[in-house]
């Protein structure tokens, strides 16, 4: 299949749109209405109706920036204009070619980020169980307990540092698409940082099982997560054993164990086939049998994958009609992963989720089909699937433009970026708390679905107010260790001419994409005495409160979209 650059796709579509002059100004032509013919020859045979009118020029760049990154920073539009959009997308698809040493430098102080699990387990020992009893009995006060067992020595620090790192990377990293994909895959293969031993494993999980493959092959993600102690613990597979197994040693010696189907079910429902992927309860049980013995070696002191033959069910398994002969041992699980990763239902499921993330909450099915096709023909190559999306007319369509609502974390990161902001690790922690207040506490999604990508879920009264409050706090510099560059944003505008300040702000924060009504409302705000306050001597010219105005823009409906 020949590859097209986004530019050439746009040109083709522009041509199609221009040919239908009556539609020129219409922004709501829907796919499937049959009003716009598919540009001939632009796509493979799977193309259905074209997805309506395409966007062009700077709007294409802004669109790509808003979807492939955590939102444009001041100057990004000009930079991408300079290199060319398709060259910029190409580079984002090959993150290893982008220097990101400044981000790495900002993360140096977060020492738990690089710790092997065994070291994390040593550094952050479990509290002595006697301690808990002493507190319960009143023998020891909470104060004494805090002194003996300070917060910075508790395993919770691992998740806190990981949250900070996630924020710093989203705000700072030049490998923006990779960061977007790390977030996407973490949610796809979610683990909850608050569940038991996952506290010690969670940083290693993202570092070892998600990040290295986020821009690699899908099957490698399935394999890496299946083997990782964080996933083994979170979905209980580490305990799953053949029926009748008796624990031979250790604190649980003599205890009977047996099958646990938690991982097997979620592996098929959420990681690969999707809930409608055609598996049965029998398949769940068979997959669970195949993964018996996949467990964690010394989970509280060492914590790495081990296959224990004694726990394994050696019998034959039939998974989705495919026979896995008896005696396969550890390979049973590997075989299951292969069967699932090569299954067309998996291709479709993964394609649907990718299209939902990058194009629309209601994924156009023709595009899903093409992305699934890319999955099947490239053995699940993630950049290839992304390229299919980024080169599609659906991606650069009016229907998709600003159609997605930012998740809370996306909103927080994009706000800092839009204000030309910077944050260090400490600031990252404060921003992570802001994300939590708006509804997305990082690494804290308890159910295995992770956080959803659908806007509807995130739009509600309490969350909207939290977004506005964050905007006010951020723009007025109330987040310690987070700096925003308001003077730079309005550089060149005369502060005594409020309308000029507003124009500069709208140009830099929402790249002039605010609707006329928003502009009118903001202009009306300029008459508020608190916004255009008088200078201290009460006689001088008005002095526009840039921070408040910037907060209004960040909290506006337009800025909630990407």
């Amino acid at each position: 299949m020949s590859r097209m650059t986004p530019g050439s796709v746009a040109a083709t579509l522009m041509g199609a749109a221009l040919g239908l002059g009556v539609l020129g100004g219409c922004t709501t032509v829907k796919a499937g209405d049959g009003q716009v013919a598919a540009p001939s020859g632009a796509r493979g045979p799977s193309v259905g109706a074209a997805p309506g009118v395409s966007i062009s020029g700077d709007r294409q760049i802004l669109h790509a920036l808003s979807r492939l990154t955590y939102g444009p920073r001041p100057g990004d539009l000009e930079r991408v204009r300079g290199t060319g959009l398709s060259a910029w997308i190409d580079r984002q698809l090959r993150p290893r070619t982008i220097d990101d040493s400044a981000t790495e430098q900002a993360l140096v102080e977060l020492t738990t980020l690089r710790m092997p699990i065994s070291e994390a387990l040593r550094e952050f020992p479990r509290p002595d169980p006697k301690l808990r009893a002493q507190i319960a009995s009143g023998e020891m006060s909470r104060q004494e307990m805090l002194e003996r067992y300070p917060v910075e020595k508790r395993p919770a620090r691992i998740a806190v540092e990981l949250q900070a790192a996630k924020v710093v990377r989203a705000v700072t990293s030049e490998r923006q698409l990779e960061e977007v994909m790390v977030d996407f895959w973490f949610n796809h293969f979610n683990v909850f940082a608050g569940k038991g031993d996952v506290r010690w494993y969670v940083a290693a999980y993202e570092r070892e099982a998600i990040r290295p493959y986020a821009m690699g092959r899908f099957a490698d993600l399935v394999r890496a997560t299946a083997h990782h102690p964080a996933m083994l613990f979170y979905l209980d597979n580490w305990l799953s054993a053949r029926p009748g197994f008796t624990v031979p040693a250790g604190p649980n010696r003599g205890r009977k164990a047996g099958l646990n189907e938690n991982y097997a079910r979620e592996l098929m429902e959420l990681h690969t086939l999707g809930v409608d992927g055609g598996y049965t309860q029998k398949d769940v049980t068979e997959v669970a049998r195949a993964f018996t013995g996949w467990t964690i070696d010394r989970p509280q002191t060492d914590g790495h994958f081990i296959f224990r033959p004694a726990m394994h069910d050696t019998g034959e398994k039939i998974v989705l009609g495919r026979r896995i002969p008896a005696g396969g041992g550890r390979d049973d699980g590997e075989r299951v992963i292969e069967i699932l990763a090569r299954h067309p239902a998996t291709a479709r499921f993964v394609a649907t989720k990718l299209v939902r993330r990058f194009v629309s909450d209601t994924p156009p099915s023709a595009l899903v089909t093409r992305v699934a096709g890319t999955y099947m023909s490239t053995d699940g190559d993630i950049p290839a699937m992304l390229r299919t999306i980024f080169e599609s007319p659906e991606f650069f369509s009016e229907d998709a433009y600003r159609a997605k609502i930012k998740k809370p974390f996306e909103f927080v990161a994009s706000a800092v970026r839009a204000l030309g902001g910077r944050t260090d690790a400490q600031g990252g922690m404060a921003l992570a708390r802001a994300s939590a207040e708006i509804g997305e506490p990082l690494y804290q999604a308890q159910p295995p679905t992770g956080y959803t990508d659908r806007g509807e879920v995130w739009v509600n009264a309490g969350a909207l107010l939290a977004r506005m409050n964050f905007a006010l706090g951020l723009a007025s510099g109330r987040y310690p260790h987070v700096s925003v560059e308001l003077p730079a944003l309005v550089a060149g505008a005369d502060p005594s001419v409020p309308a000029a300040v507003l124009d500069r702000l709208l140009a830099s924060i929402v790249a002039d994409q605010a609707g006329p009504e928003t502009r009118a409302v903001l202009a009306a705000q300029l008459r508020e005495p608190q916004i255009t306050r008088l200078s201290p001597d009460d006689r001088g010219p008005a002095n526009t409160d840039v921070a408040k105005l910037a907060a209004l823009v960040i909290g506006s409906p337009e800025f909630q979209r990407r």
């Binding site: 009977k256 769940v284 609502i405 509804g439 159910p447 509600n460 309490g462 969350a463 909207l464 006010l472």
Partner: protein
């Protein structure tokens, strides 16, 4: 594509914009709503083990298949053990705070209740229970939203409220439901001046028809009313002490909204942590701790509201139950039927409703799970019809009851 919620929100807002929803209207509506009925739905997400919540100690099949997690049968005078209800069923000992409500007949149990759909996926099963359409994924609105939508219109932004970070599926639709994590923080924190609040308000007041603007407008209506009634300052009454856990916090705030007379009709709260695949425990342990918070929160809510409980029904639900036999790790896997509770005004309590299917091997669903003998829609529609006075038809499309009514509400 436009979802139903987007469409309805936008349409509803257009109406509000024309009518202007002046504040005097809010005030009059507010006075008329003082005596309204309220339904509070509590969702136990993750599938609660109904056989531990309401233990069938009289069934000979119970103890044998749960060697490490079965509760000891109740014994008179021993409060460490399960509390007998009727000689056959018993409450988990951690639900002790609910026993007085059972005894004074304000609390009822429906056992072997669940969905006719057999999925063991949490997410699908929750979806089906929240939309009220088992097996149908295309439903865009929730049954609670429909319940509110079919009642006479009222101009209060507080007809339907969820306490939590997101609007649950069951309240999505044209109920204009709002969700919030905290009444106290439900405002623009603008410091001393109101410029930011009015600024944001005008930004969302524009005529654009979409979900964001619609939600924004509802939000500011709610903020204004809440500022006026100062609901977050109303203390718990009658010595009620809520557990300092999410469900306790949620019910405490729902009680504040009820006492503030803001026109609440339906409220929703979630409780997580029921997916006990490993080490669920028996009288003590992981699941017992969940029950402790659950029971204490419900009991505190009842105590706090006192006489007002005659206008309130609390309904608990969970997407499915868990396997009858314990699994290989002293836990339970995804099953089928579970137990649900109804508490409050009009509930004919002190009884376990539904037909007990039995725990014998041949009696189990798929040879492993408690069979469903009461469709959850039978229970939900009875509560909605009898308590809220809505009609059944739009609530559960496609539902043809195959069993007589439970008669759980007077």
């Amino acid at each position: 594509m436009i979802t139903r919620r987007t469409f309805v929100k936008a349409g509803g807002c257009a109406l509000v914009a024309f009518a202007g929803a002046p504040r005097f209207l809010l005030r009059t509506a507010h006075a008329a709503q003082a005596s309204g009925k309220v339904l509070v739905a509590v969702f136990q997400r993750g599938a609660v083990d109904g056989l531990s919540m309401v233990m069938p100690h009289g069934d000979p099949g119970y103890a044998g298949v749960r060697p490490s997690i079965a509760l000891q049968p109740p014994r008179r005078g021993e409060s460490e053990r399960a509390a007998d209800l009727d000689g056959f069923f018993a409450f988990h000992p951690a639900l002790a705070p609910l026993v007085p409500l059972w005894s004074n007949r304000t609390l009822a149990v429906v056992h072997a209740c669940g969905s006719p759909d057999t999925t063991r996926s949490h997410f699908d099963a929750q979806d089906y229970m929240e939309t009220g359409t088992p097996g149908v994924k295309a439903t865009t609105d929730g049954w609670l939203a429909r319940a509110v939508g079919t009642r006479p219109a009222k101009s209060t932004p507080f007809r339907a409220v969820a306490i939590g970070p997101a609007l649950p599926r069951t309240l999505q639709g044209d109920a204009g439901a709002i969700s919030m994590q905290s009444l106290e923080r439900f405002d623009v924190r603008a410091g001393s001046d109101g410029a930011a609040r009015t600024g944001f308000e005008s930004l969302y007041e524009q005529g654009v028809r979409d979900l964001l603007h619609g939600t924004g407008r509802e939000t500011f209506e709610a903020v204004k009313l809440l500022r006026k009634v100062e609901a977050s300052r109303i203390p718990p009454a009658n010595g009620a002490e809520y557990p300092r856990a999410p469900l306790g916090e949620a019910l405490r705030q729902i009680a504040q909204l009820i006492k503030a007379n803001v026109g609440l009709e339906v409220a929703f709260a979630d409780m997580l942590g029921w997916d006990t695949h490993v080490g669920q425990g028996a009288e003590r342990g992981q699941l017992a701790l969940r029950f402790r918070d659950f029971g204490a929160a419900l009991a505190a809510f009842d105590q706090d509201l006192g006489d007002k409980m005659s206008d309130v029904v609390v309904l608990t639900m969970s997407e499915f139950g868990r396997t009858v036999a314990e699994n290989g790790n002293r836990g339970t896997d995804h099953g089928h039927a579970t137990a649900m509770l109804a508490l409050g005004g009009g509930v004919r309590g002190g009884r376990v409703y539904g037909q007990w299917p039995g725990l014998g091997r041949h009696q189990l669903f798929d040879g492993r799970d408690l069979a469903v003998t009461t469709d959850f829609r039978t229970l939900f529609s009875e509560v909605a019809i009898r308590h809220l006075g809505v009609s059944a038809a739009p609530l559960f499309p496609g539902f043809r009851p195959t069993q007589p009514p439970l008669g759980i509400l007077a």
